[in-house]
């Protein structure tokens, strides 16, 4: 495992281009585009203000930089550095900006969600979509980029509009049987839309592309409901994480629950491998890593106890958005594993075996898990906890790597390169790239560090 030198960064804005060739990062009002392999600066763009959001177009030709404070969006072309485009939303303000899947339209949401403006880079045409709903996840595109689903709110009722992205024509418009719609998400195959209600009510609805209601699922009543939703990449499963600390897996044939995964603080099954991070003396372990680790290495240790209890957090129940329930879940790219985090056991990541529908492993870190992301190519999970270490889990085992550099490099977020060979580790002011070696080396490293029970 190798690490690049550390580069400056602001507001965690660092993204790989969709084709995997470039890396865009922001330093204050400058946008830096580097080559992924050489890390040499290819382009440097200067924006009008501090950049708050960047996004690559799907064809990796353009980058948009949003400056919400100023209500501005600037678009840069990688091919023509002199080309420029500036969109000013004026007094309407700006709260969100994103590309359409074709990479030629920009969707800007104005303040107070008054409307969504669709700007085209090809023609002068500007489209407006009124009544977008102010919610967590109100816009979703199908993976093939053909359709967009948009949550709307009119006359105190929730609606979903499905647009054809090629000409922004409204394809379907239907009301949903929700109190207060919170999120929508297309299945990866683009044929089923999952719609879930506010956290006050456990309700998830599944709509076909043509607007038919396929199924409704509700696990319980009178309690805080859905917190997170994730489709499996095969579109076969829908994982629904809720405030009761459980993940329910729905199947794509009957849309009924197959199984539910509880997240108890005590793990009784002795077959489950629990990796517990432990501070180690600097001499021990990690010598096998190609890059010399400068300081104490922490290796997740296997626990052989029959009963293992995890550190729990007592949630404050009289506040809004209590820290309970499943806040994060993600399927591995091959749909074989599901990683989850229970927010009142913030130090632990559960990994579930979807083939056998059972718990596979639990990783308990020393500090709360900030983010985790699956390797796009193989079942390998990268985890960061806001400390100076990067944690990798694979079915073979678990390892932790100290990020080198003077001073602590607190990894707040990470993102994989689509090849799975490298990833960007982001801290508050800096970022660096981590290059993973070939599979074999990593495998042995994992085996040496990871435990068997």
């Amino acid at each position: 495992m190798n690490f690049s030198e550390v580069f400056k960064l602001s507001s965690l804005l660092c993204k790989f281009s969709p084709d995997g060739k470039y890396l865009a990062s922001c330093v204050q009002y400058r946008l830096v585009v580097r080559d992924v392999n050489t890390l040499q600066i290819l382009q440097l763009y200067t924006c009008l203000d501090q950049i708050q959001h960047i996004e690559w177009s799907a064809d990796s030709l353009f980058i948009l930089c949003a400056m919400y404070k100023r209500g501005l969006v600037q678009v840069w072309s990688l091919e023509q550095p002199e080309w420029h485009c500036k969109i000013d939303e004026g007094s309407a303000g700006l709260v969100a900006s994103c590309w359409s899947p074709d990479g030629r339209h920009i969707l800007n949401t104005t303040e107070f969600h008054l409307r969504i403006t669709v700007w085209s880079l090809c023609t002068k045409s500007v489209s407006y979509i009124k009544y977008p709903k102010a919610c967590l996840q109100g816009i979703t595109f199908t993976r093939d980029g053909r359709y967009m689903a948009l949550a709307e709110r009119r006359d105190c009722k929730d609606y979903v509009s499905i647009f054809v992205c090629s000409d922004w024509q409204l394809l379907r418009h239907f009301d949903t049987d929700t109190q207060d719609l919170t999120g929508i998400e297309w299945a990866p195959n683009g044929c089923v839309l999952a719609v879930w209600d506010t956290c006050l009510e456990y309700k998830i609805l599944l709509y076909s592309l043509d607007g038919r209601l396929l199924s409704t699922y509700s696990a319980y009543e009178w309690s805080l409901g859905i917190k997170s939703v994730a489709w499996s990449p095969s579109s076969q499963f829908l994982a629904v994480g809720s405030y009761d600390g459980k993940v329910r897996i729905l199947n794509h044939v009957t849309w009924k629950m197959i199984t539910e995964f509880g997240h108890p603080a005590a793990i009784n099954d002795p077959k489950i491998v629990v990796y517990k991070e432990a501070e180690k003396s600097p001499q021990l372990g990690l010598g096998c890593l190609s890059f010399p680790p400068p300081r104490a290495g922490a290796g997740p240790l296997p626990s052989s106890e029959s009963k293992f209890s995890l550190q729990t957090l007592k949630p404050v129940t009289d506040r809004a958005n209590p820290k309970i329930g499943i806040g994060m879940l993600a399927f591995s790219p091959d749909s074989y594993f599901l990683a989850t985090r229970n927010d009142n056991i913030p130090n632990a990541v559960w990994v579930w075996d979807i083939q056998k529908l059972r718990l596979f492993a639990v990783l308990e870190q020393l500090s709360p898990v900030r983010a985790f992301q699956w390797d796009p190519q193989q079942p390998r999970l990268a985890i960061c906890t806001g400390g100076s270490r990067l944690y990798l889990w694979s079915p073979a085992g678990c390892m932790s790597v100290q990020v080198p550099g003077e001073g602590d490099f607190a990894v707040l977020s990470l993102c994989w390169h689509l090849s799975g060979d490298s990833m960007a580790l982001l801290s508050k002011d800096h970022f660096c790239l981590c290059f993973l070696e070939t599979e074999a080396v990593v495998g042995t490293a994992c085996r040496q560090l990871g435990g068997h029970t």
């Binding site: 799907a58 064809d59 072309s77 002199e82 080309w83 420029h84 485009c85 500036k86 969109i87 000013d88 939303e89 004026g90 007094s91 309407a92 074709d102 990479g103 030629r104 107070f112 008054l114 409307r115 700007w119 085209s120 880079l121 090809c122 023609t123 002068k124 045409s125 500007v126 053909r146 359709y147 709110r153 006359d155 105190c156 054809v164 000409d167 024509q169 394809l171 109190q179 195959n189 683009g190 044929c191 076909s208 592309l209 043509d210 009178w222």
Partner: protein, 613 residues
Amino acid sequence: MGDWMTVTDPGLSSESKTISQYTSETKMSPSSLYSQQVLCSSIPLSKNVHSFFSAFCTEDNIEQSISYLDQELTTFGFPSLYEESKGKETKRELNIVAVLNCMNELLVLQRKNLLAQENVETQNLKLGSDMDHLQSCYSKLKEQLETSRREMIGLQERDRQLQCKNRNLHQLLKNEKDEVQKLQNIIASRATQYNHDMKRKEREYNKLKERLHQLVMNKKDKKIAMDILNYVGRADGKRGSWRTGKTEARNEDEMYKILLNDYEYRQKQILMENAELKKVLQQMKKEMISLLSPQKKKPRERVDDSTGTVISDVEEDAGELSRESMWDLSCETVREQLTNSIRKQWRILKSHVEKLDNQVSKVHLEGFNDEDVISRQDHEQETEKLELEIQQCKEMIKTQQQLLQQLATAYDDDTTSLLRDCYLLEEKERLKEEWSLFKEQKKNFERERRSFTEAAIRLGLERKAFEEERASWLKQQFLNMTTFDHQNSENVKLFSAFSGSSDWDNLIVHSRQPQKKPHSVSNGSPVCMSKLTKSLPASPSTSDFCQTRSCISEHSSINVLNITAEEIKPNQVGGECTNQKWSVASRPGSQEGCYSGCSLSYTNSHVEKDDLP
């Protein structure tokens, strides 16, 4: 009674009272009187009586007392103390006999009374103790009763309290339920209120939004603009098209196409799944049929009608379903048949298994007596044993294979020379053995020869003696005869000498030759042999011989090897044997041992190698 009172002496009134009491009751029976007396009288009373008697009679009142006594006695039924008076006037004489009789009787009575009294007293004591015991028992029981009563009261109290508590809890529960209901109502009302408020707020918000929209958007805000250097081409290279009804229709078409594709894909998947499941089902069915068919005849022979009919169905089904095309039909048409047949077969299987279970249980019940039936444990033990044996055999085969391999592979110089040495040594040994045998034979031979020569010498001596005898006899005869007889005798002698000497010579030659021969052999052969043995390892001249020998030995060893492999364990073969064959056999055995040792070390190294990574 009244009469008695007046009659009685006033001085004795006090006494007479008691007596009158007695007398009044005398009419009943003397026994009762005694008992009463015993009851009333006690030891102190008797003393009183004594004192009273001492005072009773004095010198003065003898007559009176006698009469009194007489009276008393008569009243008590004793004969009168006086003699029968003949005349009225005559003074009645005291009959001493009667008095004595009376006295005696009284004494007897007294004794009886005393005895009775004693008895009664002991009885009384007994009864008293009984009474005491009973009283204590009574008191105890009373106490017990009391305590149990108290306990009961306590329990009742507790019960009451618990009931009270229960009632309270019920009340609480009810209250809680009410509370819950209330809270739920409150929640519901709050929810509705909240929703209502939300809606109101939202409406307001929407109004504001509209207003803002109007204010912000409709006014020509020059700021809202896109500043672009030049428009770029579309990603797909096409030009944008106008929105028309056609595009709408096209979009719809496309959407449905996508949906259809998805459904088709899913259907394909499902079909594939179905086909696989059908395959499994078919296989299962076939297996079931094949499993059930051997039992078809048996249950038919039995009286079991139901299974028989079902089985015939099964046969039909089997016939039908053997056609592969059946499986390509849609499920709807086949489903019923399929499920039915499967169900039937399943039932048969179930019943069969149940029957088997029953049989097994029966066998188990009977089996302990039944010698023919092998119990499962035995069976298992047997199988275990067999498995173990198989394992051993396998191991043996393995080692043998390894041996063979080693034999095949290990034709490098060291091993070959070693092997050759081995064989030569073997040869040496064998030759030695043969040599010893040969020696022994030679000894025998010599012994025989010696005895033979001795016999010949003896014969020669005898012959000599005979010859001499004959000569003397002939001499005599000759002397007795005339001179011409002398000539004759010479002829005879010549003749005899000729014949005799020739015989003798022959004999001697015969006897000498064997005498010489063994010597030469005995001298020659050991040298030769020793030479042989000495030159065996090195000399090329003997190598041929050696080779042939080794060839033979190999043959023999192979034979023996076969034997050892079949009959004798290597350990036994390794042991010393006097028999030549066995001694040869011991060599391969030892060799084998050596090889097995080698192989062992080999496997060990293998294991180590395994351990290493």
